[in-house]
């Protein structure tokens, strides 16, 4: 089944006004610590599951691969994730890039939000998003790779 109807639907949903796009001049990638932040609602199995309209995030330790998919939308392919975690959360690819010296290092903690959010995303913009940024800065992260589903 084509994804075009779902892409058209997503493109037509109300979106908040964000203002100008901020810009950081990054340091060289080979010196950067990289973290993944996914909106696929992944979580380690012993952590709280995502509720519908969950605006918070879950931490994923670098070494964990036993992750469950807790996203509430039925409108995307889940079999890819079931077959290969890295197609959503490319943690093994990051480890390979670090081993090859392409990136400086892999962050000790990665994060997951749920992509299904209310239209204004106020809580993410003002609360959980800044808290997540502070956590990543505490871990000396330089670059964030954002992955959706």
């Amino acid at each position: 089944m084509s994804d075009t109807p779902m892409r058209d639907y997503a493109a037509g949903t109300p979106m908040p006004e964000l203002g100008p796009t901020p810009w950081v001049t990054p340091k060289p990638l080979a010196e950067s610590r990289v973290a993944i932040v996914t909106t696929a609602a992944l979580h380690v199995v012993e952590d709280d599951r995502f509720t519908n309209d969950d605006t918070s995030f879950r931490m994923i330790p670098r070494e964990r691969r036993d992750l469950a998919l807790g996203h509430w939308s039925p409108n995307f392919d889940r079999a890819g994730f079931a077959a290969d975690l890295d197609v959503v959360y490319p943690i093994d690819r990051l480890e390979e890039l670090a081993a090859d010296g392409v990136i400086g290092s892999v962050a000790p903690r990665h994060l997951a939000f749920a992509g299904n959010q209310e239209d204004t995303l106020t809580a993410v913009r003002l609360d959980s998003g800044p808290r997540a940024a502070a956590l990543l800065l505490d871990d000396a992260v330089d670059v964030v790779l954002l992955t959706p589903v």
Binding site: S2, M6, L18, T39, G80, A82, L146
Partner: protein, 225 residues
Amino acid sequence: MCVLAHVFEAAGLATVSLISVRPVAERLPPPRALYGEFPLGRPLGKPGDAAFQHDVLRRAFALLERPSGPVLEDHPEVIESDGTPLACALPPRHDASLPAAVDEARAFRAAYDRAFAARGVTSVGRAIDADTVPEALDALHRIAEGADWQEVGLGGDPVSIAHDIRTYYEEAAIALADGPPAGGQTEAWFYEQTAAGRTLLAARAAMQGAGAPFPLWFYMARATR
């Protein structure tokens, strides 16, 4: 996700976003974005293909070298979802006294267990566990046959149960399939070929007809089903 890119960049983190819906990135431009026209749910494009995933990452991280932004680029390869049902055999009927979906779900248990053992994790468990999937399908069967959805003892909210049933089947299918399925194939197999998928869609339609609240029946299946 574009919102998070803004929040993180404003906090001093450089961001690179893999984008699955291009118009959203056009309206809420993140600093650096790579659009991949891949099946939704597969932002790295191809499961089981490390070389392709590295190609996506290489193109994404290359955006960090741009002097200014926002920048939005397209990955050159388009991967369409495949509406062809996965080639995954269905079990023969074992106990004809049971609803077909219940009989079928029991038969898939061994494959599900193999998938669980291989990955060490399952995404089943929002409302029910694997042991309860046949019972939940029995309740959905009764709803489809006309029973009151509030009286059949579903054991949780219908949307979570629908997620768990579909996930149980898809994880079992991964264990039975020959390599990672193309995008959409497993979904098509579930809804169009399995008794469970047909039962779920029939129960969903019955709930709609019975006036169940929209969010409780609509999100039991993909919007286009």
